[in-house]
């Protein structure tokens, strides 16, 4: 029996029940008010009607009485039917009854000049019948010139009964309504509570470690369903982040343990010999490897931090044209040295402004250019070829354009490229395609670029560079939404005219050497959905 009170108190504590109960109570209150007004109005109308009838009759009888008592007596006698609704009594100035179907003048009427309500026992024809019950009536009195008093009344017992019946009905109705209201409230709250309980139980199971568990979605599209969908999306994101963390730790383990082990082996090997020169060399190599480790570690750490941060904290207005030009200028000598050429045509007459973390964007573009230089100059498998292709193979196109409000920074090389199947993997967090480390650097460049893109609500698209070379090349496009095109700012320095890019990007030249059909490795797309800017 302890179950019931517990459930009742649980029900009372539920906000759904309280809400439903309050609305039911308000409804009942309103309805009773309404019924009371209607009732009172109906009563008034009926009373008025009775009073009007009485007054009319009184007027008629008064007219009769003007011609003398005899006429009045006749009229009263004629109207006084024993069981009719009309009640009459005529008395003389001493109070003696002269005619009528009332036994006496009701005292309630005497005191009132406009009439009064009183109880009476009807006069019965048959004396053997039981004494009839008292009935309710209204009456008014007329004083005749000769001192006679006439009381004209109407039996309203039937109306009273009817009114009582209505009253009882209304009260019963309200009681029923209240009960139904409470029941409905309880049902609603149980229904809602059941669904909330489902959410709660799913949450508890997730907390207990069952991360695959999801909140049931019934597809009704209501608020609770929306909540369930959002909770599931949140869980999805958490699982994703956790998988990311696992991936991080795995990759850190791999990326750091391997070189650490190499480092350790070298020191151990050097210790085995007593050669001072070998020791020195080993120590120098150890420092180099430690620096390399620090770089890898920094890159991993930076990617991890980017994954968990938002852009708002560190955003400033960044001039993309200036930024890209700066990076191109920075890397130009290196490219030349490596036998490549950076080809970048700055946008003329307009500046591209973006709320962004300038240093991270610098780093991202630098990574792309750095990668392109490394791979652009890798010798093709079939080395000997025509002079023209050899010359063009070292060209790295860097382009900045605007399309649909997105700044597109494209870095396209003519190197070996990345096979379509590997592209998505190349952009995943902490993934190194070049695990064997045949090239210097951490090999985390593209992952970092993808992380920077995600942070800015953008994405990175990899594709083949189209050219006449035998190697497909790699074209990396960094798309950053929310770019503002400022005309004339770079060229004239005059009053810049700012326009939203989407509508006014007439001089946005889409980079022509990227086949849109080839945009396979799309990464960071889900980052858009999770970013506050999107």
């Amino acid at each position: 029996m302890t179950e019931l009170p517990r459930r009742v108190s649980g029900l009372l504590a539920s906000s759904a029940f309280r809400l439903a109960a309050i609305s039911a109570a308000a409804f009942v209150l309103l309805a009773s008010g309404l019924v009371a007004v209607v009732f009172w109005q109906a009563n008034a109308v009926l009373t008025d009607q009775v009073v009007a009838t009485l007054s009319a009759e009184a007027d008629a009888l008064r007219t009769e009485g003007r011609s003398g008592r005899a006429g009045l007596l006749d009229a009263v006698a004629a109207r006084s039917r024993p069981e009719g609704p009309g009640l009459y009594v005529l008395v003389d100035s001493t109070g003696r009854k002269l005619a009528g179907n009332l036994s006496r003048v009701p005292p309630e009427v005497l005191s009132e000049t406009t009439g009064g309500v009183f109880r009476y026992r009807p006069v019965t024809v048959n004396s053997s019948a039981p004494v009839p019950a008292e009935r309710l009536a209204v009456a008014m009195q007329i004083v005749m010139p000769d001192g006679d008093r006439l009381v004209v009344g109407r039996d309203i017992e039937d109306q009273r009964r009817y009114a009582d019946g209505v009253k009882r009905l209304v009260i019963a109705g309200f009681v029923a309504l209240s009960l139904i209201g409470i029941c409905v409230a309880a049902m609603i709250s149980r229904l809602v509570l059941k669904r909330i309980e489902a959410i709660n139980s799913a949450a508890r199971q997730v907390m207990a470690g069952d991360f695959a568990r999801r909140v049931p979605v019934d597809g009704s599209g209501d608020e609770l369903d929306g909540l369930a969908v959002n909770l599931n999306a949140m869980l999805e994101r958490i699982v994703e982040l956790m998988a990311g963390m696992r991936e991080v730790s795995d990759n850190i383990a791999h990326d750091l343990k391997t070189p650490l082990n190499r480092l350790r082996n070298r020191v151990e090997g050097a210790l085995r010999h007593d050669d001072a020169v070998a020791h020195k060399e080993a120590l120098e190599r150890t420092i180099e490897e430690a620096d390399e480790l620090i770089r890898t570690f920094n890159a991993l750490l930076l990617i991890a931090r980017l994954e968990a941060s938002t852009i708002e904290d560190s955003a400033t207005d960044v001039d993309l044209g200036k930024l890209v030009a700066g990076v191109v200028e920075f890397y130009a000598p290196v490219a030349e040295e490596a036998g490549a050429r950076l080809d970048f045509a700055p946008m003329s007459g307009a500046a591209l402004l973006l709320r962004a973390n300038g240093q991270l964007l610098q780093q991202a573009v630098a990574n792309l250019v750095d990668n392109a230089i490394k791979y652009a100059t890798i010798a093709r498998p079939s080395a000997a070829s025509s002079a023209t292709t050899a010359a063009s193979s070292g060209v790295i196109r860097v382009a900045l354009a605007v399309e649909h409000g997105e700044a597109l920074i494209t870095v396209a090389d003519r190197g070996p490229g990345i096979p379509a199947a590997d592209r998505e993997r190349a952009l995943r967090r902490f993934v190194r395609l070049d695990a064997s480390r045949t090239q210097p650097g951490t090999g985390l460049g593209l992952s970092l670029v993808a992380a920077v893109a995600r942070l800015h609500g953008g994405r990175v698209v990899l594709s083949d560079t189209i050219g006449e070379t035998e190697m497909p090349g790699l074209s990396v496009r960094l798309a950053l939404p929310g770019t503002l095109l400022v005309r004339g700012a770079a060229a004239s320095g005059g009053q810049p005219e700012a326009t939203a890019v989407g509508t006014a990007a007439l001089d946005a030249s889409p980079t022509s050497d990227v086949r849109s059909a080839d945009l396979i490795g799309v990464a960071g797309a889900r980052g858009v959905g999770h970013n506050a800017r999107a």
């Binding site: 120098e284 420092i287 430690a290 620096d291 620090i294 770089r295 920094n298 890159a299 750490l301 931090r305 904290d313 560190s314 700066g326 200028e329 920075f330 890397y331 000598p333 290196v334 040295e337 973390n357 240093q359 991270l360 610098q362 780093q363 630098a366 990574n367 750095d370 230089i373 490394k374 210097p440 650097g441 951490t442 460049g445």
Partner: protein, 226 residues
């Protein structure tokens, strides 16, 4: 040069003290923020090296307090936090330079030497002269032995920074930060290529080299051997 090292990790502090002494500097050590603040108040030192995370009083508070008390000694902030924001916070608190752990000792040495030099009030120099190499900061002209040398704007700034720190080691990171205002690791030897281009313009056709590579540290411009 007298250096105050405020660092709570004993081994790091000992390593710094030993290395700085070997480099010819006098070193005082403080193990926590409060002790460091007391010692720094005397303004006896040429450079303060302050770790960001210290017991009792954190590094940034030490710097802020010192600055509010009018102590102008240059400060190098050491930190394990290497984010852009952390760097900005460190510099905003009154630090003069910021170095992220782990660092190379040569980097730290080059930076504190540059800091100490910067602290010496130098009249607004309009000309830097190293040997027969002259950089005129007003006309932006560079000559060597009276012969004009044509430099790209960036090469000019690179040379300007090197000559400003003439006789002192300038690391690649310092160049990256001061000449390009980049705060990331370019991975490839980009700086080396830029320096070698500059070198080919100012040294190649001359008998005596001025721009030297300091092995394991960076570069130095000076008249004479390193």
């Amino acid at each position: 040069m007298r250096v105050l090292v405020i660092e709570d990790d004993k081994e790091t502090a000992q390593f710094l003290a030993k290395s700085l002494k070997e480099s010819g500097h006098a070193v005082d050590l403080a193990g926590d923020g409060e002790a460091g603040l007391d010692m720094g108040r005397g303004a006896l030192h040429d450079v303060l090296i302050i770790d960001r995370m210290l017991p009792r009083l954190d590094g940034l508070s030490v710097i802020k307090t010192l600055r509010s008390e009018g102590v102008r000694t240059p400060v190098l902030v050491l930190s394990a936090l290497g984010d852009v924001d952390d760097r900005v916070k460190g510099l905003r608190a009154g630090g003069d330079d910021y170095l992220t752990k782990p660092y190379a000792y040569s980097e730290l040495l080059a930076r504190i030497e540059a800091l100490a030099r910067r602290a010496v009030p130098e009249e607004q120099q309009t000309r830097y002269v190293v040997g027969d190499l002259v950089l005129d900061r007003l006309s932006h002209r560079v000559t060597r032995g009276g012969e004009a040398i044509v430099l790209q704007p960036r090469e000019y700034r690179l040379l300007e920074y090197l000559m400003k720190n003439a006789g002192q080691v300038v690391t690649r990171t310092m160049l990256l930060e001061h000449v390009w205002d980049y705060h990331f690791d370019p991975q490839t030897n980009v700086i080396d290529v830029h320096v070698s281009r500059l070198r080919s313009k100012i040294d190649k056709t001359f008998e005596k080299p001025l721009l030297h590579t300091v092995r394991g540290a960076g570069y130095m411009i000076r008249d004479g051997a390193v």
